[in-house]
């Protein structure tokens, strides 16, 4: 029983991490109807920023997530201006393919500059620390911090979207771009902002991750796919939906990985997605 609880706890903590990675993608997808294939590579870049700050200047990831978040925010805005803005209104496929090219570009620049080796910060403040819960339950502190950060950012995003003026403008743009423009909203700026916020969310996740996860150029690919699955499973543009989907994915991954075999955990996750869309093509919380 204790083992089971431990696996569930780990799964949920991992699910919170997926939620934090997914939230940015969900926002971009919901507002701009674009799949950003380079989402995982933004995460990887944020991890490298945090890693190098830690390695060269001994800044702990607990602080350097701020730098990572800002860095990826700026990167996203630049990517929007240079690439994505030219693809708005074109067939959905073009943005996906262009960002696929971008993901290839970013991945290989990092491969070229930083080598394919795994890089891990060895002396972070929270690295390896745990909290003992009861008799047999162990809570890994770095993962817990990420889960808390994820919760805070999701709440902030939700609040921002539903009760600020800019949030309303974003929602208006998502509903009807032309009408929003007639109301005096600069939709191009809104799109750039949404793309930037989406990047910042994943940037913060990436900034915190080097506390326990090694960095390498391929680290983002799997996160991209999992984020796609979470968004699609949660239902189009629904923040709560993608949060729950991310928790479900984390849980399934942990349970299957522990009780069946680690190699099957992603088979189970992707299989679950196929089953869900077979029953509800619009996702768990889609209309």
């Amino acid at each position: 029983m204790a083992v089971f609880l431990q696996v569930v706890l780990d799964g949920l903590l991992n699910g919170m991490l997926y939620a934090l990675v997914t939230i940015g993608l969900s926002l971009i997808w919901g507002v701009m109807d674009i799949i950003n294939f380079a989402h995982g590579e933004f995460l990887m870049i944020a991890m490298y920023v945090s890693y190098w700050l830690g390695f060269l200047m001994h800044v702990d990831p607990l602080i350097s997530w701020i730098a990572s978040g800002i860095f990826v925010f700026l990167l996203s805005v630049i990517v929007y201006k240079l690439i994505v803005s030219q693809l708005i209104g074109k067939p959905a496929l073009s943005a996906l393919l262009a960002t696929f090219g971008l993901s290839m570009l970013l991945k290989n620049i990092c491969l070229n500059r930083f080598s394919p080796n795994f890089k891990l910060l060895s002396d972070t403040y929270l690295g390896g620390k745990v909290i003992q819960l009861g008799n047999n339950l162990i809570l890994s502190l770095p993962q817990f911090i990420i889960a808390v950060a994820s919760m805070v950012i999701i709440l902030l995003t939700y609040h921002f979207m539903t009760s600020t003026k800019i949030g309303w403008a974003i929602q208006a743009t998502a509903m009807d771009r032309d009408a929003a423009e007639l109301m005096g909203i600069d939709t191009n700026k809104i799109y750039a902002l949404v793309f930037g916020i989406g990047g910042a969310c994943v940037g913060i996740a990436g900034g915190l991750l080097p506390m326990y996860m090694p960095v390498h150029p391929e680290v983002g690919s799997l996160f991209s796919l999992i984020a796609f699955i979470c968004v699609a499973m949660g239902g189009f543009g629904s923040i709560i939906g993608s949060l729950l989907a991310a928790l479900l994915v984390g849980l399934i991954e942990a349970l299957v990985g522990f009780y069946i075999a680690p190699i099957f955990k992603y088979v189970a996750v992707f299989g679950l997605y196929l089953i869900v869309i077979l029953i509800k093509p619009r996702g768990l919380f889609g209309w």
Binding site: W29, D33, I35, I83, Q86, L87, K90, P91, A92, L93, S94, L96, L97, A98, F100, G101, L102, S103, M104, L105, L106, K107, N108, I109, L111, N112, P116, L225, F228, I229, A232, A261, I263, F264, Y266, V267, F270, G271, Y273, L274, I277, L278, P281, R282, G283
Partner: protein, 330 residues
Amino acid sequence: MGRSRRDRCLWYVMLIVLALLPLIPGPLQGPFAQHVLVSILLFACMSQAWNILGGYCGQVSFGHSVFFGIGAYGTGMAVVTYGLAPWPGVIAGAFLAMIVAIAMSYPCFRLKGHYFAIATFAIVEIFNRLFMVWDWVGGAMGLDYPIIEEGWKNFMWFQSKTQYYYGAFILFLIIFSFVRWMEANKLGYYMKAVRDGQEAAESLGVNSTSVKLTAIAISAFLAALCGAFFVQYNLRVDPPMVMSLDMSMRFVLITILGGLGTLWGPLLGAAILIPLQEYTRAIWGGLGGGVDLIIFGILIIVIVIRQPKGIMGFISWLASRSKAAKGGDE
């Protein structure tokens, strides 16, 4: 439904040029140049197989590397595991790919746009990971070909690549003739009708489900044939080589670059992308890695932004302009 004389001329001239290409002395000789030629034909075929579903029928799938991989594994297992000639494996792989395609189309065809794309990503990942741990198909180690007698019986040559080129040319003939026939046939019109407006097509009595199923079945069958060629050419196969998103993406990108839903698009796209990829790899691939793919990535972005209709779109724009200029003169 007759074709114009120009169309027919272009087709036969193209076939003759392709048939004679390896015989031309000069820069096209030598193993590397011939490798590039074989790869161009192979990827043109593969992209054309994708084009049947993605271009003509409008269902943009990123899962075709699964069919490609099943074809490759079918053939590879016939030779490596059972010590047979590749041919029974080719047939088995192609039919198996068709069955898998029909099975997976059941959940996927109810989805639209991004949802369809993501479902096909998921299928590629599932197959990739299952094949990685499945010992019967060689697991993560993959299948390595033994050295056996070369010739058409085993579809294997070690001395020269010319025979591989003609093998690829036969594949090209099969797939491109089929698509050419399909374009002028009822099936092709049905597919385009489903692509351009499913509801409208259905209201005119087209059974869109059966059209889409036919398209994916044919597409998967032909993709598996290409996979069979790929494994015979590389003499080894492992899951990341064939069943990966990168592979799927390559088929899509070549078709998009050449022109979606056109007969010549895949060949044009492959004729540009493949040499570019092979030569950048040959020049920069060894230096710390990644430079070839950096260039490739930039190229993809530029193409998608600048030329979304592909080269065929550019050609038809030129043609319509010259026609308009002529019309103005009269």
